[in-house]
Symmetry: C2
Subunit: 430 residues, 2 copies
Amino acid sequence: MSTPLKVAVAGLGNVGVGVVKILEQHKELIKERAGREIQIAAVSARSKTQDRGIDLSPYAWVDNAADMADIDDVDIVIELIGGEDGIAYTLSQNTLKNVKSLVTANKAMVAHHGAVLADLAQNNGVALRYEAAVAGGIPIIKAIGEGLAANELTQVYGIMNGTTNYMLTHMESRGLSYDEILDEVTELGYLEADPALDLDGIDAAHKLAILSSVAFGTKTDFKNVYIEGIRKIAGIDIDNAKEFGFRIKLLGMTKYENGTLSQRVHPVMIDRNLPIASVMDGFNALVVDGDYIDRTFYQGRGAGEGPTASAVVADLIDIARGHTGAAFYKPASTLVDAEPVSINQRKGEYYIRILANDETGVMADITSALKASGVSIDQMKQKPAEVQGKVYVAIATHETTETALRDAINRINELSVVLEPTMSIRIEKL
Amino acid sequence: MSTPLKVAVAGLGNVGVGVVKILEQHKELIKERAGREIQIAAVSARSKTQDRGIDLSPYAWVDNAADMADIDDVDIVIELIGGEDGIAYTLSQNTLKNVKSLVTANKAMVAHHGAVLADLAQNNGVALRYEAAVAGGIPIIKAIGEGLAANELTQVYGIMNGTTNYMLTHMESRGLSYDEILDEVTELGYLEADPALDLDGIDAAHKLAILSSVAFGTKTDFKNVYIEGIRKIAGIDIDNAKEFGFRIKLLGMTKYENGTLSQRVHPVMIDRNLPIASVMDGFNALVVDGDYIDRTFYQGRGAGEGPTASAVVADLIDIARGHTGAAFYKPASTLVDAEPVSINQRKGEYYIRILANDETGVMADITSALKASGVSIDQMKQKPAEVQGKVYVAIATHETTETALRDAINRINELSVVLEPTMSIRIEKL
């Protein structure tokens, strides 16, 4: 049996504590599977005295996490601090430069600096692994980069944020309003420290940017991800979706074709009978399409101490087994700068929801506006709004273009009978 | 870039042809991902002249596949001949003994001889890989053995045979009888050369035996898999399942607890709302439960040229990347002999279907027989059979034991009003 692999844990939140627990509880199991013992050499966090429910006394305490890159007998630094820059990024760069492998759960950092970090890892002959950064409980990075490596992949999409999926699930199943479910997830502690990361789709976009690189060998390009969150979704939209045969989900979708990369995170209406439409609560799920495997589907817990720590430790076991290949499964120097596809190039169907005065001619005004923009109607419903004398008009269009749809919405919003900016959701045929 | 990896393809059925296609079509992609070119050195099959739609002239032809173990410049033999023994097993053993790696899609061989082959591979310092043997389109061996390696796994279950899943799907969706759907899959060429492998659950049992070893580190133990196929399922059972809130699926289920291993393949009735209940047609799906990840779910195509060949080539890429670790993800010498759990130890609910004469007192007779065996009734339905004067009685029991249930069925079959052996299906709460 080889010498033990020594790891330093930077960050002792839920995931860090989970990693310590797994390495302690499954010490023998991991030793047998990895072929080497994995030992914790040092730990670091902001507070040394906080009670985390585990005994940290066996491990060296490091006050400044950044110093962990310099500990001589550490083979791997596990970065669980978070944040795209700051100490996490400094520590990560220094770890790789000092010829230590890096395992991280930091989706923001990998999404923003993936190509730079992959390059550093390769130049120093060490591993960069980040399975925990995307859908913790699902080994999706490994599935795409290794399990499906024989395929030219065509698209990856899925539910990448458990909190917003929980919100959408309970808006439908319990008839809650957006504000009611927001209060509940706040209470439950499901939201990120900065709730915008969840609610505005940014967290999902971080994960999507990483998946693009793994699937297509493109440079991580977070800035070109089109992002819309779920703040605009109201109970009326959940109901309308159901009546039209759809369900609303917040999806991340990435597609690579002829050197162009389309990356989008936004609410969608999808067929209620699709497997991904049945993924409820805090679960994540991903669909990966390739030329030889056709379609594969993966579902698991997206976050939480256990699933995310499980992914971190799987990366450690991989490195112990000697799997220290390229971070994005091809040489960092060959990662491609893809041409981003603008959301304005989208073609497809749309749902729109209009609040208007309940006057004679309102439907004629709205349908004329759609006609003037060349948008044709597939389904249309009118129902009374909460306030008397006002109506909601819900429309599902036939296939049109993003620009035609925006033009139609501008025309509708200019109508004197229309009372608030019209809302739209893209209908996706997946 | 390293020297090319040279492979010999033994067997040129659908999968073998698929492997050749992928290696040709994705030559550059694979070279970049694997870090080495993967070259076909030789091919072998029964008929040299058969038109397979691909040009085999660039490759050396080997008349006797067994000779492939002796070709000097071959690094990996890909065994796609099939059959648990015979030439496939001889070739596989000789390949490993001659210090070449083995990649195989042969579930029967790995299920029967997995431990022996793993030992041979380890002693000769080469790789044994068999991702294609289980659920071709789903990288499940890798997911369990690597992605979830940080977990103590508790159970694995799923739909492991696409043909029988297709049959059950269409018996329900199109109201076909067993004989009608059997004719259809025979016509479509979906059945194995020996249909018993599909219909009697043997193919699924091969896969289950392999999954047990990967998940629990036990020696492959095919002979202790309890196996029942789908031949007994009739349209009336499909209907009754639906009325009771269930759906019938043929599942493989393996569970390891305190050194005991329960391995079962049989039809089950499960809650229609479970994700696995929605897996239709030829798809395979697997659920893997572990102590830190909770539950993960995987779905993809179970068979076919593309998906299975994709799995074979993924194994080749892994080996090219230097991932040549233990076949069952721990040293072969540490694989455990688990104590098999007999089906007679099962506790649970059951569905039973009785054909009886439509006489006064028939329900009293049946319910008395159940009472005498200590089996209590949850739901019960009586409906006229196709033949006048006869009735079907369908019962869903409360939790009981396998032995009590068999005792009850014996009592029921002895009743003079009962016209054929009573049929039962286990109800599983998953």
